[in-house]
Structures are given as C-alpha cells and as structure tokens.
C-alpha cells in the first residue's frame, strides 16, 4: 500500500474506510446488502497472496496471456488459460474457488447471450441444421456457427480470466503507479488516484443514506423507491461537492502544487516467477501449433 503524510491526511476524511469496512467483519453483509462488487474485488486485491509480486510483472503477465489467448483463437488454448489461471488464483492468490466462479458468473451471462446472437440467424424460411419456428420468422443455426460461437465464448472467458488475474491481485493504486511509469500524463494518473479514493468515500456515504432510508421504509414499494433513489442520489452529489472542497483546502494547506508523491513498497521481480511465466506462454504457443 502506498502511504505518505498526504495520503494519511486524505484518509482522515474517511477514505481509509476502504480498509476498515472490509476488515471489521461487517464487509460481507454490507456487500450483499448494497449489491456492490466493488468492495469485494478491492478486498480480494488487498488480501491476495500474490500481492507481493511485482505489479509491473503482473501487468505484463496478464496482458501477455490475454494477447496470446486472443491471438491463438483455439478452444484448447482458451481452456488451458481458464484452468491454469483459476488454479493460480486459488493456490497462489488464496481466492476460494466458489468466490472465483461467483465472480465469473456476471461476465458469463453476457457472453452466453452474445454467443446466442452470434450462433443464430434470423430467416423467413427454415435454413441450416436446426430451425426454431417463431411467429413470423425462423431462428436457425448450423454446426459451424454453433462451433464458432462456442469458441468465441471460451476465448472471451479466457480473456476475462486474464483480466481477473490483474484485477484480483493488484490494487488500483499500484496499477495507477504502473500507468504513471509508462508516461501517462500526470494529470490523468492524479485524477485516477483521487477518483479511486473518492469512490469509496461516496460508497460509504451512500451505504449510510441507504440504511437511513430503509429504516424509514423508503424502499417499501416501487414509487417510494424511486423517490428515495432520487433523494439519496441528489444528496450524494451535495455531500460529494462539500467533501471535494474540504479535500482541496486540506491539500492546499499542505503545499499541494499539482503533484502527488507516494512512497511505494519495493516488490522485487523473482526469477522463478519469470521462468514460470515463460514456460506457461511456451506451453500455450505449443498447444496452438499442435491444434493447427
């Protein structure tokens, strides 16, 4: 975690609630209650067993795997990527398999719907191997389209696994520091850093407003819910603006001149990790060649 006097100062206003909310045991219920996966993914990233890996290396590992999975475009390679990365997350990262599968479920729904649209064709007359008669038209598909769609869904799932490798093991501030190192304009990295922190301030504030409304039966029926939603969202903007004024005053008082400097933990690159990655990538490429 990156911390200096300035970040500690920002923390006082409640930004640090990220860490406190997730470690005080109330986190789990809170997540389900408000339906935010944000906290759970952030929580997993901070607690990951792979947190001490070099962040730059993790970016290269997941982007490289992503690129190989997309470029290879073979079901075998996609399956290997999905299986190996799930194993890595479970054994090295310490993510429970059930939690990992739960996280994959959201993208899966989109992929299955999208895959369905890719696999099927709409036509006025029956065509292909199967046709499903519907009022006014036929929904048809054949073996080739179905196989292509399955491959596409698997490929995308492999790519999602590769992205999860980054998301579930690397904290957002480390990622921003990697982006800063590859020369993204400092205005943008600074904005990203502040936005990331403010997200948790606002989520925390919203959680309290949500509970306050719930205690007054504000989510009783659809009409009341709409009113309550309007009220809380509008109030959230007002609170957000007031907070942002306070933060900018506090930062100006501590000599903020347009650059945020953070101390970073040194996370050395390990030879075994690099060797493992090269073996993994070579195996994937070999599979691609073998699959023809």
């Amino acid at each position: 975690m990156c911390r200096t006097s300035l970040s500690v100062l920002l923390t006082n206003g409640g930004v640090g609630s990220t860490i406190s909310t997730i470690s005080d045991g109330k986190g789990e219920g809170d997540m389900r209650h408000n339906g935010h996966g944000v906290r759970s993914v952030d929580h997993l990233a901070y607690c990951s067993g792979m947190n001490d890996w070099n962040p730059g290396f993790k970016v290269v590992l997941s982007l490289g795997t992503l690129a190989i999975c997309l470029a290879a475009d073979r079901a075998v390679v996609s399956l290997a990527v999905i299986a190996v990365l799930a194993w890595l997350q479970n054994v090295r990262g310490g993510v429970r398999l059930s939690a990992y599968i739960g996280l994959l479920r959201a993208p899966l729904v989109f992929l299955l719907l999208g895959g369905l649209a890719v696999a099927c064709d709409i036509s006025r007359v029956p065509a292909g191997d199967w046709s499903l008669p519907l009022p006014g038209f036929y929904l048809c598909t054949d073996w080739d389209r179905a196989r292509f769609a399955c491959g596409l869904v698997l490929k995308a799932l492999g790519a999602v696994s590769a992205m999860y490798l980054l998301a579930l093991t690397t904290t957002a501030c480390e990622l921003v520091s990697v982006l800063h190192r590859v020369r993204l304009p400092s205005l943008l990295t600074e904005l990203m850093y502040l936005t990331y922190r403010f997200i948790f301030v606002l989520l925390d504030t919203y959680g309290r407003m949500y509970d306050a409304a719930a205690a007054r039966l504000g989510w009783r029926d659809f009409r009341t819910s709409c009113r309550s939603f309007g009220g809380t969202a509008a109030n959230l903007l007002v609170v957000a603006l007031r907070r942002s004024r306070n933060y900018s005053n506090a930062m100006a008082a501590r000599g903020y001149d347009g650059a945020l400097h953070f101390l970073e933990e040194k996370k050395p690159l390990r030879r075994a990790q690099v060797a493992w990655t090269l073996v993994f990538w070579t195996a994937l490429l070999a599979m691609r060649l073998a699959a023809g």
Partner: protein, 247 residues
C-alpha cells in the same frame, strides 16, 4: 398436470429466466475478449478525438484553478457510484443505471467523455464490467455517443421550450437507448450474420438485449428526473458550482 397448471409453470419459468438475466446484464458493457483485435483498435481510434478534446478542456480548467482537480475527481467518483448503484426495479431484481445522461447534463459532455474512460477502467478492474481490450468500444458507446446525444437532446428541448423535466427525461432515456443501439451495432459489425449481413445481426443483438434494456432506459429517465427534482429544490448553489446553467 392440467392445462392451467402447465401454463402457470411456463409463465413462472419465463419470469424466473428473466429474473436471472436482469441483475447482471444491466449495464451493456462489451466483455473482455469478445471483439476481434481490429475492431478494438478501430473503436479506440474513433473515440480518441473526443477524449483529446476532453483532456484539453480538463487541462484548461486545472490551469485556471488548481483546486478544481478534486472537484473533477469527485465528479468521476460520483458517476462511478451512480452507475454501480442498485436501482429500484419492478421485478425486484437489481439493475444498474449508466449515469451518462445525468453526468452529461450536470458536468457537460466533453468532461464526461474523459471521466468516462477513467470510470470504465475502474469498472473493468473493480467490477469486472467490460474489459481492457474492449475499453475503446465501450468508451465510444458509453462515454462519447451516450453523453453527447443526451446533452444534444437536452439543449434541443431547451431551445424548443419543452418542459424542463420532460427534457431531462428524454435526454436520459434516449441517451441510454442510443448507448444500447451503438453497442449492438458494434457487436453486429464485428459478427455479421450469414443471411442478413450486418443489419440482420444488429437486429439479433438488439433483440437479445431488448428485454432488459428497454425497461432500463425508461427507468433511467424516471430516476434522472427524480434526482434533478431533488437537486433543483435543495441544492441550487451546488448545481451552479458544477457548471449546470439555469434553463
């Protein structure tokens, strides 16, 4: 089973299926790895001019007043939180707003475009909505097309002296609908159908996502109006502070 019972089972099965689909397919992000590489690059390039314009306008704002950095970051966080909130829905399952219409009306479309990229990146990393390779395509549909059209409709309605809340509703609902149409079109261009080509495929993608997206667009309009009514009644100074002009 009697015919009546069978019908009941069928109806509840359909409702259950819809319930499974609604909660997670709320936001129309194109998932990681779903688009071919050429399309990823193409949509990224298409979004670039808008992003550069947004970046330069931010840079000017920051040079003018150093302290606006926290305000802009807070606006980004606000859009993120609004788009990740569970919204009330008739079926009882949870769905999400896109928040682009509200953002465009409050902060202006060019600011929202650059904030949109940051929000989409965090959505990919923190929520696993969308992806890194599909960031360009998602940016184009959600951070460029949606906000600019919302803002355009809002301004047009103001010119035509339409009731303010009606124009807010139209801007948010139509902006949301357009985002969904653009996303379907992006998918269709990437995967044209054998029989009908791009247009046939677009109809399929529109059809697949319509049951969740049409009610959501209307709901988004209603909720945006609810938020604006509250802001107008309780937070006029704040509205002026973010650059929202009086209509």
């Amino acid at each position: 089973m009697t015919g009546k019972q069978r019908k009941l089972v069928r109806i509840t099965a359909c409702a259950a299926l819809l319930g499974c689909v609604l909660p997670t397919a709320g936001a129309m992000h194109i998932m990681e790895g779903f688009l071919p590489p050429a399309m990823c690059v193409l949509w990224g390039v298409a979004a670039l001019p808008f992003l550069l314009a947004g970046y330069f306008s931010l840079q000017r704002a920051v040079v003018r007043d150093r302290r606006s950095v926290t305000l802009i970051a807070m606006a980004g966080a606000f859009i993120f939180v609004i788009s990740s909130l569970k919204i009330p829905s008739v079926t009882g399952s949870c769905s999400h707003m896109t928040g682009t219409g509200l953002g465009a009306i409050l902060f202006g479309p060019s600011a929202v475009s650059i904030l949109g990229v940051i929000v989409l990146l965090f959505q990919a990393i923190l929520l696993a909505h969308g992806g890194l390779t599909t960031l360009g395509a998602n940016t184009f549909s959600m951070a460029v097309a949606g906000p600019f059209v919302s803002f355009g409709i809002y301004k047009l309605c103001q010119k035509l002296r339409v009731n303010k809340m009606v124009s807010v509703f139209l801007a948010a609902a139509l902006g949301d609908l357009l985002t969904y149409c653009v996303t379907s079109l992006q998918l269709a261009v990437a995967y044209p159908s054998v029989v009908g080509g791009v247009s046939g495929s677009a109809v399929e993608f529109l059809g697949v996502f319509a049951p969740t997206q049409l009610p959501l667009a209307i709901l988004e309009g209603v909720l945006t109006v609810a938020v604006m009514i509250m802001l107008e009644s309780y937070a006029r100074p704040e509205l002026c502070a973010v650059g929202f002009e009086e209509g």
